[in-house]
Each structure stands twice: as structure tokens, then as C-alpha cells.
Amino acid sequence: MTVENFRLEAKGWGFLLDRNKPLKFTFDGETYNGFDGDVIASALMASGRHVLSRSFKYHRPRGVLTMAGHDANSMVQVGAEPNVRGDRHGIAAGMQVISVNRIGKLDRDWLAVLGLFSRFLPVGFYYKTFFRPRGAWRFFERPIRALAGLGSLDPRAHHGYFDKQYLFCDVLVVGGGPAGLHAAIASASTGADTLLIDEWPVLGGSLLYGRISGSRAAAESKRSELVSQVERCPNLRILNNTTVSGLFADNWASALKENRLFKIRAKQTVLASGGYDQLLVFSKNDLPGIMFADAAQRLMRLYGVKPGSKAVIVTSNRFGYDVALDLLEAGVEVAAIVDMGNANEAGASKMEALGIRVIFNSTVVKAKGKARVEAVAVGPMLDRDKRGRAEWVGCDLVVMSVGYSPAINLACHTGAKVYYDPEIAMHRATDLPRGIAVTGSVGGIWSDASIGASSSDVGKSAAQMALGTNSTPVAPAQDDSARTITHHWPITESSAGEEFVDFDEDLRTCDIDDTVQAGYDDIQLVKRYSTAGLGPSQGRHANINTIRLVARATGRSVEEIGTTTFRPPLVPEKFGQLAGRGFEPTRLTAMHERHVELDASFTPVGLWLRPAYYGPKQRGNAAITAEVTAVRNGVGIIDVSTLGGLEIRGPDAAAFLDRVYTFNFLKQPVGRSRYALLTDESGVIIDDGVACRLHEQHFYVTATTGAVDQVYRLLGFWNQHWRMDVDIANVTAAYAGMNVAGPDSRAVLEKLESDIDFSAGAFPYLAVRIGRIAGISVKILRVGFVGELGYEIHCLSGFGAKLWDRLIDTGKHFGITPFGVEAQRVLRLEKGHIIIGQDTDGLTNPAEANMVWALSKTKPSYLGKRSVDMQIAKGVKRKLVGFTLADAASPCPKESHLAIQDGNIIGRVTSVVRSPTLSKVIGLAYLPTELALPSTRFSIRVDGGRMVEAEVVPTPFYDPENKRQEM
């Protein structure tokens, strides 16, 4: 393909390019040339392509606007990555770039027809129609949804590698322009560990392309001087190509660089993040070829691209005159400088000396062109809204420099307030949170003369505060030249219409007027009704003009209108960047490898993985039955390491537990365990465990696997309140635990070398012993959860695997069988034990769960006592009961199937199983108290709506005399 070449070849253009490294990439299938260092937009423009995208609503052609990645005009799709800012995304060899949001070709998007119907698609049109008759929206929604959205996602795409890095510093300086460089140098020179973050590949900000007092050479030498100083600073770190995306409480910042998220804790933050160019609003101001002054300068200086051949500059400040010099230097004809004021006499006379026409007190009234600007009408500004007779000036480039909006967003993320300063026609941040300072244009400083000293002061002050040598922040500097930057009314309407305020959302001045006219006259309502500022650039270039229009339409001042809230992130963050490598910790017990060797099928329990049963998934039921049978008839072993473990130590240990759990612990003998039930303030059961007294002042308390962290937090919370003399530690991970259960369990333990007497008399049910088995220090609890003689053995995690091996080896003789969580659930249900969270719900109180026996009647208080007592006194409406099926041949209900009577829900099954031991269906269910009596019949609705007759029976189902666990 032969294309025109708009490259500027001479030295001094294309600072970021490596012209020795040409690259080829494709855009919509066509091959384009570029250089290493080019971004997609610069390479395309160098080849003469100006239309980069189609707009959101009317599919209007759009081209470069900011060349800074701040707008949506250059959004493209790169491979599977949607919504790529083509004016910041570098090209790479072979890269496939496609344009988005079009039907047909980019240059002939069929949907551009929507623009013709724009008068029928007013702001908020979708609120006004598409809903009659009822259900109509169902049909309209799909095509309307399909029109929305920009890029697209590929569900087959696999995501790349993302990671995160923590950084710490005394002073974080955001922005590598002149203000940021001065601040960073001053901070580092004061001795503070300073981190300078800049979003560009090289430092300098506007010094890379702008002018100082009209001189490019002065800016260049200033940049060299500052950069060489920066490089000499020993305690100054620099992150290039990195964007600070958010600033959160206590100077906690997020920053993005390629696929990495930096998380930065700074003692002080200095925001020197510059400003965002603001739009001049006029008819067809969105045509390609109309761009900001900074964009034109960046194109030329950074990327060596000539932005056009004949330019009109419209400006309200000195930067417009600077860019004229740049354009002339690049060989672009400057047709006219349209100055919205008449104050820049020096600039004007310089221009006139160069033969450039300057038109004072005028503005661009409208533009014409199809896919690129062809001419603009320039007319005098008579008053705020009225323009005089306009003349057409031919051009293919319009450069706007009519003001800025300071980048105060980061300060606002963390609580700064915003106010409109009518003196400078810009918003400013005030009430800065502690540890945040602003400088440069964010701080209202615009003159080249004062930026150095004021920024150095801010940097030094931040360093001193970070180092603790001075606690008074420096007073903000004042700069009168700020008044000469931004025009207070850069809006011109004409009969031609199409004056765009928000490019992202295709909003025109009439849309804002219509919004206010419709009654949505608060700026927050304007934003939501019109969608102004909701697009990818988050209103950077649209907010202030929207506010101005609302002010005009409501007859209020811009100050009175206020502004919407700046929310994080400042720049969009990839899900992958936020997710990072997705650290999702998996907790494995000390015996995990043993379970793997035994082919266990695992189930997640909180962060833990626990064996559900041993054997493959397809044989799960058989495995569970075999494990149950082994425990009932011989001996089994289960890994219970995940059970929560809390150590409570100190003179008040017993008294503390007494205040928390429902039982009595003051008189609990050393060497004994006691059931510990926990209720919340409304009397709802939240956890249970056992409390073992190991010493007068030392308890070991278990908690359920899922709840231990919550219980630990709760105990800590109350300890803070009560200030008792106890220490609480969560030792869950410190110990491995295994429960050896079954009639042969004592025999297994007795075969091992130990200093503990396991005989029934010496070590009865509910006793706790500390000693050694097989040379390993252990703590052993005689427990009965599964309803058999059983010993729960805890040892330090490091010895877990060894102890497990010894128990398995020794137990072989007795046929010891490892069993999993599923078998344990069956065993405990046979024994009638409840599982908190399964057999209780968010409202279950102890009386409903038949656990009144676990409540102390004698002590003054425990957590939730008042509520529990009131509920017992009132009488509970439901009870947890055991049941079996009346007809053994009935299908087994599932957990959560409902008990139904007379068409009403009266209860619910919480646990149910076909018991291998008892050869019948057994279960627990909630029933109304009046039905919770043995032999009562009730109906359960099972799958398919079938009713199954059940009968209330007493629990435990198995060994009701408790002979087996106490043998």
C-alpha cells in the first residue's frame, strides 16, 4: 500500500522513536509501518490515517485528541485486549490492531446513519420509549445492547501473567513534569527516601515538547538540567511508564505498569500530575484533525508526526502561540491564530512578524468536513453566547488551547474537597488530607518562573514532614498567571448544532440543555440522566463544560452547581492487574501427602482441603460405607488438624471463658474437657467445641474449622472490652490432630510406646492427658463425636506425618482405616450430634437445638444469655428432632427438603442419610414444637414433589445409652 508519509525526519522530532528499528503491524487487516517507540495512533497518523474510531452513540468518525491515553477517541482492540488507548499503546512487530464499534469498514461505518437520526435520539431517549406494551423492552433490549459497548471480549482468551509489588517510601511524587522533578529533587536532597512516578517513558512532562518563554531550547535545557540532577540524587527512585491509578486512606497508592500493580505506602504524597486539556465546544468540534495543543506537540516532538499541513490555532493562553512556533518549525502552514482574548500582545506581535494572522477576541464558531476537518468558521465573540459574523478559514488541523482542568482527582480519592475558582476558571482541591500536598498546575502554579521554587518548597516540606523534622506544611504558593490560562466560556453554539461536550458519550450542548429542561438540574442528576462523564475518560474533558451549561440553563453560577465526585481509579485498571497472581491460599494439613498417597477425594472446607473419603469419586458411596463400618467395628483414624485451636492463658482464663461460653468453666478440673457452646447476642448458636483445662490458668479450646477465625476475633474483641488478664492465641495451624476412633482404638494406642495410661479407669471419657506417644509430645482428648471409644491426639504440626505413620503402622494389626469427613458426618448423625451451620441456621437458639443442658443456670452471664433466657421463657416455636421414614422403601429425602402440612411449610430436613450401621434412613429436621414428640408422623416433600411419610424418633439413633463411647 502506498501511503503519504507525514513523518518529520529532522533531528529534534520523534524523541521517543528508534528510527533504526522499523516495525510493521496491521490495522483492520492492512499493513502499516512504524518505528520502535511509536504508539498505534502516531504510526497510523504518520501514514495519513486520521480516523481511528467510531463514537459510542452516533458512530461519528473520531481521531486523535490528547495523544496521552486520556480519551476514548483512539480506542482500538489489540488481539484479545479490548478498549486499548491507541494513543498510548506502543506498536510491536506483527501486532494486529482492529477498530471497534462499527458495522462494515471504519471509514464507511453503516451505523453512522444513526447520526442522521440524532434528532430522534435525544438525550435519555431510551427512558422515553421501548416499554409499551408491557414486555416490549424484551424485544428492543437486545439490539440496543448490541449497539452499546466498544471493544469485545473473547471468551476463549486466556489471561497472561500479572503480578504485584509493594513499595515503601518517605515521599511519593506523582508526575515527572517540571513541578514533579523539582519536588522530587528537593525531597531527595532533604534526605527523604523519594519515589517519583511518571506515566511517560521519559521524564520531563511538558518540557519534552513545550516551550519556556516561547523558547524550545530553554525547555530542552531545563529538562536536561533537571533530569541530570535527578540522576545524581542518591535516594530518589524513578518509575517510568507507570500511572498512579488511585490514592486511598493513609497515603496508600496503587500504580500500574504493564502487567504489574504497585502498592505503595508513602509517608507523604506530592501530587504534581498536571492538568487535562479542555475542549472548545463548537459545531462539529469532534472532527478528526481537531486536537489539543499538547496532542499536536506530542505528535511532533515525541513521535515525529506532522499533525496536518494547514492549521488554525484557537487559544486563550500563551500555549497557543507556543504551538504555532512548533507547527511552523515542522513545516505546517498556520492559517491563523484565533485568540479568544486580546491580552497576548507580545505573542501576537511575534506572530505578525512571522506573517501569521492573529484574530483577537474571536473563536471558532463551527467546523466543516466529513472524515477530517476541512475549514473552520471564525467569528468575533460579542458576549458570552453571541458571536459576530464568521469567516471560513480552510485548514486540515485545528489546535485547541483554551484551558485546563487540574488533575486533582487523586487528592479527591482520599477526601480532598473540590471548589470552583472563578478567578482562574478552574476547579481546585482544598481541605487536603494530612500527608498530601499539591504543586505545579494541580496547585494553581502555571508560570515557568515560579514553578521551580514553589515545587522545591513543597518537595522539601514533604520530606521534612516525612522525616519528622518539621510538622508544618509549606503555605500554598500563589500565581497570578493562572488567570490567563483557561477561558471561562469556551462554548459557541450555532444553528448548525452538533456541538459536542462529551465525546465519549456523544453528548451535545443541546443534550445538556434538554436534561436540565427535563428537570434534571442537579449536576449529579445531569450526570446520571445524560450520562455525561460516565464514559471511559470519566469526564476529564467534559465535566467543566457540562457544569457551565448547567449553570447557564439554571441561571446559577458555576460555583453553585458544584461538581460530581472523582472516584478511583484515575485510569482504568485491568482486572488482571488487580487480581495479580490470584493468591488464594490453600491450607494443607501436616498429613496431606499421606491422604494423597491414599487416593483421597478432597473437599474444600474454608481454605483447607480435607479428605471427603478415600478412593475415587465414582466409588464415593461405597468408600463412605466401608469407612463407617470400620469405625463401628474396629478402628478408624481421621485427620482433624483443621479443627480450630485456641489457647487461653492467664489468671483470668477460666473467668474469661465463663463470660463467653454457655457452660461453667470456673470449677472445671484440670485434665478434663467440657463442651463449649457459643451464642451471639441474639442467642443464636454460632459455634461449639470443647474446652480442655490443661492448667489452672491454661485452657485449650477447640472451634469448628469454618468458624475459628471468627471466634478468635470475637474473643479478642471482648478481651479488649473487658481487659481481663488473659492471652488468647489462635494455634490452629501449630498442631496436627487425629482422632483414633472405634472399639479397638485403645488397643492401638496401648501398643505404642507412651507414658500415658490408656486404661478406662486412668483415662476416662472426657479426660485430657498430656504426655508422649512414640517419642512425640502429645495432648490427648477422650471424645465421642462419632459415638465410639475415641482419642483425639494433637501434636506439633511438624510431627503430624510421623505420628500418623506410627498410628497407621501400629493399627495395621487391627485393620485401622483412615476415614474422611463424609464418614464422620454419617457417624455423628447416627450418634445424633449436630453440626453447627448445617443443623443450625442463622436463627437457631440452644432450646431449639435441644441444648439447654449446655447452658449454665448458675452463672450471671455469658454472651447472649439475656436473649437465650428470654427465648426459653417465651417458649420456642420449633425444635430439631430425629426422624426415620415410616416406610423403609420410600426414597431418601435430601437435606433441605421441606416438611409440609396442609400445604404449608412446617419444617425442614437438615441432615439425612441412609445409615449403613442401622440400615435405615435417619435424619434431623426442624418441626413445630407441638409436633416434636416421638412417634409423631409428618410429611417430607422430596424431589419430584412426592410426599414421604416420616416419624419423629428420639436421638441418638445409635447407642442411646452411650456405652460405646464411654467404654
Binding site: 435525544p122 408491557r134 471480549l153 486511598f248 429542561q517 450520562t531
Partner: protein
């Protein structure tokens, strides 16, 4: 092209009549003062005006209309609750939502997408079945589906087993819907204003005026306003305002954060929630992914944003939708949730005579907007607790007649 747009486009003035009519002044006395101009307060005013003929109403708000949780939710509507009381209540809400565009003459873009509550554990599957059984019993369309069904209905979701928390199944609720949240507040405001109701933003209530145990008005940043009846509908500030009225609420106030992505072409139709992974996601009509997670772990009255919310959310989001790694978060925000102990709202009469409360909306307030307004209006007009609201009375906390909905909360708390 629909007629309404043609009519608009061909109108030479190109101006509709204003939808919202703002009062110029505030009066000294109203029949009813409603504190809080969010969806709930506006809906209450609307139904008072349209169903009970009470139009001398002022709706006051300390900030702008519809700017609280009405503007901060993730627009999900569903009736797949857990308790019969909850299901009956939200079912009526869904029925009202379905006709709301026509009722209010504004397109609320009510869009039934289907709603998955994913289960990654046995416990979650049990809760899913519980909800499905209760829902079906009460005529709400919900069913438990397995991982294969999830994959069939939502093929872009990763239901493979080689992830940290594989999807075992889900509670699938076909009527689960999205709607344009702001439009609902505007629609109610429009309808109420058209009937003479006054909405006064920027009017902060600083005290509740009482005579004995009876409310007589409110003191505001714009002076005293007297009223026969006062309704409090101030999600996020409920306990603070009720304290002004002289009674306490069993409410803990916790931020709930959310975020949206940049718009992309439609790819996700359903609403997907995973309580275990603490994520929920849907794609708006504009193409944005609207996402949220668990409530923040501590109480706060501030709507600040945090970084760790996004980090935790996305780590899990990419387990379900790995291909979204290159999509970008555009904006994040927070709402403030008034959490009750039983995860159900508090509505109706209070210890203060003629003072009515609409509170305790935790993370489930948006989806109740129409029914709450409808029934609160009935409550205010008749002075009696409507039957549908009886289980949600404030008195239930004293008598322990709680309505336990924790199991139906979409994400962790």
C-alpha cells in the same frame, strides 16, 4: 421507530414538558414528611399520592435526590429468598417491577436475565436447595442446577474442576432481573411531583419534633417543618435518624463497595453471584460489567473506596471468567448498608406515634423499592402495619420473632 421518538424528533421546539417539577419554596406544614428522597422515600410518596389520595407531602433529603443507595446499588432484582415471609414480600416486589415502566411512564429497562447463585461447597448446595424448595412452594421460579447445567446456560463461565473452588452447582432463578436504578427513583419522583408532592433536596433533618410520644414535625437545615406523620427512609443513616426520634435500632452500618468496567459488547446475559467467592457480576445495557463483593469487614458511615476490595474481587472474578483479565475497571464506589441481625428489613410502626420507619435494608434495599413504597404508603395512610409487613416490624427483635435471611444474602457479610 417508536412513536414517542418520532413525536419528539418532529416537535420543532424539541422540548418535552419537564419530567421533574421542583417546588420553589418549602411550606411550614405538610400532611406527611418523608425523610430521605431515595427510591424508597419517593416510592412511598408516589403510592401515598396515587393510591391513598395524600398529596400534601414533602420528601426531604440532606443531599440530592436519589443519591444514596438508590444510586449506589448493583441493580439486581430477585425473589429467591429463604423465608416464606421474605419470599412473599420480594415476590410482590418483582410483580410491581414488571409493570413499573408502564406505571411510571419511564423505561426502567427491566430486564429478566436469569440469576445464578453459585455453590462451591456442600453447605452452599444445601442452602441452594432450601431456597429452591421454599421458592417453588410459594410460586417463585427457582431450581437447583448442577455444574453441567450452569455450563450449558452460561457457557462463558469457567466451571472446570481444576480451579481453587470448583462450581458444584447453583440456585438458578430465571426471573432474576436488572433495571436502570436511577430511572426508578426518577419515575417515582416524576409521578409524585405531578400530583403535587414536593421534593426538597439539600434539606437536612437535624431533629425530630415530638409532643409526648407523638411526632409533630422535623427540624431541618431550612427551619422547622410540621407534619401529621413522618416517615424515615434513610438507608445508611437509619440508626442516626432514629436516635433523633428517640429510639434505637438493632442496626450495624457497614460499607458495601462496587465497581464497573469499561463498556464492551454484550457477552454476559445472566447475573452471576458466588457467595463463597464473594463476587457478583452482571452486564448492564450499556455494556459495563457491574460488580460487587462482600461488605467491608468493619463498621463505617463513610462511602470511601478501597484498593483491597478490588484486588479481592478480581482475584475471584478471574476464576469464574478468566478471559476478563484484559478488561478494565472504570469506576468504583461504595454504598452504606444498614445491617440487621436477621438480614431482613425493619418496616412500619415505631415506638413514636405517627412516626414510621423504613430501614434495615442492608444489601437488599434496591430490589424492594416498589413493594416497600407500596406497603409503607398503606401503613402510613391507615396507621396500621400491613399484613405483608407484619413479620418485618421493629418489635420482632424484642420478641425474637426474627426473619432469618442470612442464607439468602448474595455475598458474605
Amino acid at each position: 421507530m417508536p412513536f414517542a421518538l418520532l413525536k419528539y424528533g418532529l416537535n420543532p421546539r424539541r422540548r418535552d414538558a419537564p419530567q421533574l417539577k421542583w417546588p420553589s419554596e418549602i411550606k411550614k406544614h405538610y400532611d406527611v414528611v418523608i425523610i430521605g428522597a431515595g427510591g424508597h422515600g419517593l416510592a412511598t410518596a408516589y403510592y401515598l399520592a396515587t393510591r391513598h389520595g395524600i398529596t400534601n407531602i414533602a420528601v426531604l433529603d440532606k443531599a440530592w435526590m436519589g443519591g444514596g443507595n438508590t444510586a449506589r446499588n448493583t441493580t439486581i432484582i430477585r425473589a429467591n429468598y429463604l423465608t416464606p415471609e421474605g419470599v412473599a414480600f420480594y415476590k410482590e416486589s418483582v410483580e410491581l417491577f414488571r409493570g413499573l415502566s408502564q406505571e411510571l411512564d419511564i423505561n426502567i429497562m427491566y430486564s429478566e436475565r436469569g440469576h445464578f447463585t453459585l455453590a462451591h461447597t456442600d453447605a452452599a448446595m444445601r442452602t441452594a436447595r432450601w431456597r429452591a424448595e421454599v421458592n417453588k412452594h410459594l410460586g417463585v421460579d427457582s431450581e437447583v442446577v448442577d455444574a453441567k447445567d450452569v455450563a450449558r446456560l452460561c457457557p462463558i463461565m469457567n466451571v472446570s474442576e481444576d480451579v481453587r473452588y470448583p462450581v458444584l452447582g447453583a440456585l438458578y432463578h430465571p426471573p432474576g432481573a436488572l433495571a436502570r436504578h436511577d430511572a426508578i427513583a426518577w419515575g417515582y419522583a416524576k409521578g409524585a411531583m405531578a400530583r403535587g408532592v414536593e421534593v426538597h433536596p439539600g434539606t437536612e433533618v437535624v431533629n425530630i419534633l415530638k409532643e409526648g410520644d407523638r411526632v409533630i414535625g422535623v427540624d431541618t437545615s431550612r427551619g422547622k417543618i410540621f407534619a401529621d406523620k413522618v416517615v424515615q427512609a434513610v438507608a445508611g443513616s437509619s440508626s442516626r435518624v432514629s436516635a433523633l426520634a428517640g429510639f434505637r435500632l438493632p442496626i450495624k452500618t457497614i460499607p458495601l463497595q462496587a465497581c464497573v468496567s469499561e463498556p464492551v459488547k454484550p457477552i454476559l446475559d445472566q447475573i452471576v453471584v458466588s457467595g463463597s467467592l464473594h463476587v457478583y457480576i452482571s452486564q448492564s445495557a450499556r455494556g459495563e460489567m457491574v460488580m460487587g463483593g462482600a461488605t467491608d469487614p468493619y463498621g463505617l458511615y463513610s462511602s470511601r473506596s478501597t484498593l483491597d476490595f478490588k484486588e479481592g474481587l478480581m482475584a475471584h472474578m478471574l476464576e469464574l471468567f478468566p478471559f476478563m483479565a484484559e478488561l478494565r475497571v472504570l469506576r468504583q464506589w461504595a454504598g452504606i448498608a444498614d445491617m440487621t441481625p436477621d438480614f431482613s428489613p425493619v418496616m412500619g410502626l415505631t415506638p413514636v406515634r405517627n412516626y414510621y420507619i423504613d430501614s434495615g435494608w442492608g444489601t437488599w434495599g434496591f430490589k424492594a423499592t416498589p413493594v416497600c413504597g407500596f406497603r409503607m404508603a398503606e401503613c402510613v395512610a391507615t396507621g396500621r402495619q400491613p399484613e405483608l409487613l407484619a413479620p418485618f416490624a421493629l418489635g420482632r427483635f424484642g420478641s425474637f420473632d426474627l426473619v432469618g435471611e442470612k442464607g439468602a444474602a448474595s455475598v458474605g457479610h
